[in-house]
């Protein structure tokens, strides 16, 4: 993100506002200053990603990185992941699944669907903060393609 870092937008889909805030704070602490757009429900997030018509044209030309929680009130994160990876405009967008579930089958399924990283939220806060900060450091060196 070093060169085009400014242009990469982090889409954070997380229904727990506390978690969202903590994630944002810890990413900032790692020195990542990219714009973070939070969504508390899957519907809102899908509307942003694929536009009102659902075609995905809205995301054309954007540089996005999606931070996805699997347990959402209106749909599962898996559905969102499927849609993102199936849409020609967003399929190259890196998706980081960040969730509490550590079920092996769930993890497998996410990677099968094209998730780029799967991170289980650590149980205690210190571990959690640490993991998010390292994730922030990882973001700061990672290249994100511009969507088609």
């Amino acid at each position: 993100m070093s060169e085009n870092a400014k242009s990469v937008t982090i889409i954070m889909i997380e229904d727990d506002e506390g978690h969202a805030r903590l994630i944002e704070k810890n990413i900032r602490r790692a020195g990542v200053n990219n714009e973070i757009v939070p969504f508390a429900s899957g519907t809102e997030a899908l509307a942003f990603l694929f536009g009102a018509d659902g075609s995905g044209n809205a995301s054309a030309g954007r540089s996005l990185l999606i931070l996805l929680d699997l347990n959402l009130p209106d749909m599962t994160g898996i559905e969102i992941l499927e849609k993102v990876k199936a849409n020609p405009h967003t399929r190259r967008t890196p998706v980081v699944v960040l969730t509490t579930t550590d079920d092996a089958r769930e993890i497998q399924r996410c990677y099968d669907l094209g998730a780029n990283v799967y991170i289980t939220k650590p149980v205690n806060y210190e571990g959690f903060a640490n993991a998010i900060r390292q994730l922030g450091l990882f973001f700061s060196v990672m290249q994100v393609p511009e969507t088609a």
Binding site: D16, G18, H19, L22, K25, N71, T100, T101, K121, V123, N124, Y125, E126, F128, A129
Partner: protein
Amino acid sequence: MSLTRNSFVVRTLVLLLLGLVALAGVVVTNVWLVQRTQDYVTEVTQLRRLRAAGVDLRSRLQDAETGQRGFLITDDADYLQPYDDALANLASYMDRLRQAAEVMPDLAPRIEQLAGVIDARLGELRQTVELARQGQRQAALEIVRTDHGKQLMDQARAILQEVVAEAEDKLGRLGVAQGESANALWWVSVVGGLIVVAITLAGLLTILSYLRQLAAARQEVEALNVNLEERVRERTAELGRANEEIQRFAYIVTHDLRAPLVNIMGFTAELEQGVATLQDFVARSGASETGADGDAARLAAQEDLPEALGFIRSSTRKMDGLINAILKLSREGRRVLKPERIDLQALLQNAVAAVAHQVSDAEGEVALDVQVPALVGDRLSLEQIVGNLLDNAVKYRRRDVPLRIKVRALARPGGLVNIAIEDNGRGIDAQDHERVFELFRRSGQQDQPGEGIGLAHVRAMARNLGGDIALNSTFGQGSVFTLILPARLRADTRSMAA
């Protein structure tokens, strides 16, 4: 007709007894009747002999008379032959009659009378024959003409006729009696036989109905057996589903609980940072701020806020520990067991070696007695169970006596293995024997760190392995934890464990 085992036995015995009595009656009556028939036969023989003797005697008398008359008419000695023969034998014929007449004592006087008449008649015959031999035929004929001889002869005939008639009369009566007796024998035999047949039939019916009942019961049992396996399979599946549901529930609950907890802990950390900043500020600018507001702010920053944060931290940490414990248990329930052959001696030795350091610190010793060379089980579970129990034995020892731990492994009937871990520690109060296996529950003096998870975990693992754990303990003297395991862990045990 429904027969219980007892009523069947009683009924059969009663019928058997009745049959026996009837049979005995028939036999006794038959013996008695046969005896009576034999008596009749003897009597009949005797009476016939009497009749024959009477008839013979009469013939002999007539022979004698015939010989006399012939001689008197012809004067030819040849005609005397019948007379001589009769005279020679008459005494013996008379004796035979006497003997034969003993069967009818009533006739005795008539027989004696007859003997007298015959004697007189013979005397008359002898006299006439003697006279004729000496040539005095006229004198002899004279004597005949007196009719004295004829009268005597008539008397003898009449008496003999009477004797024969009496005998025949009695024979007739005997014949009737014998007929009646035979009839009675027939009836007794037929009726007795019928009773025996009836009783036998009743017994047979009883046995048949009992047998039919047995057969029906057996069919029922067979049918039940067939169903039983099916039902066991269904129940097992139901239990498995219920178990899965509980584990899913525990898993979901812990996950959902964890999310807000992360927030509480996270924002507590943020608060702590904020408080630290505040403390710095208050410490630096504290001198310039005086008065009640300044003191209150100082007190809040230095004492109240850190204290409150400390409690929030310790409480959330504890809650975190509890949630983790539940999570660990639910994970244990979901873990796939790997049955493998385990050298029990080696496994127990390793477990003992793991606590050897603490045991020697407590001046204690561990005795190992393994009578089961190997079993098929899940190594990880077994190691954790034994390790937990040994840790507890060390942790809850009595400080005033040297620690003694005995580990024994024994084969038990039914394909089971018992692993007993006995200590001389502080023991567990009888009322807490079940409680100690419950999650987050502890017993006795709370002077050791712990969350009340170990034994709950041990029991969950033991049951997962298709076994269980039992506790035998006396407060203040020590405890024996007995792990009961199948010697061969089956691959489908998981679904069996409730």
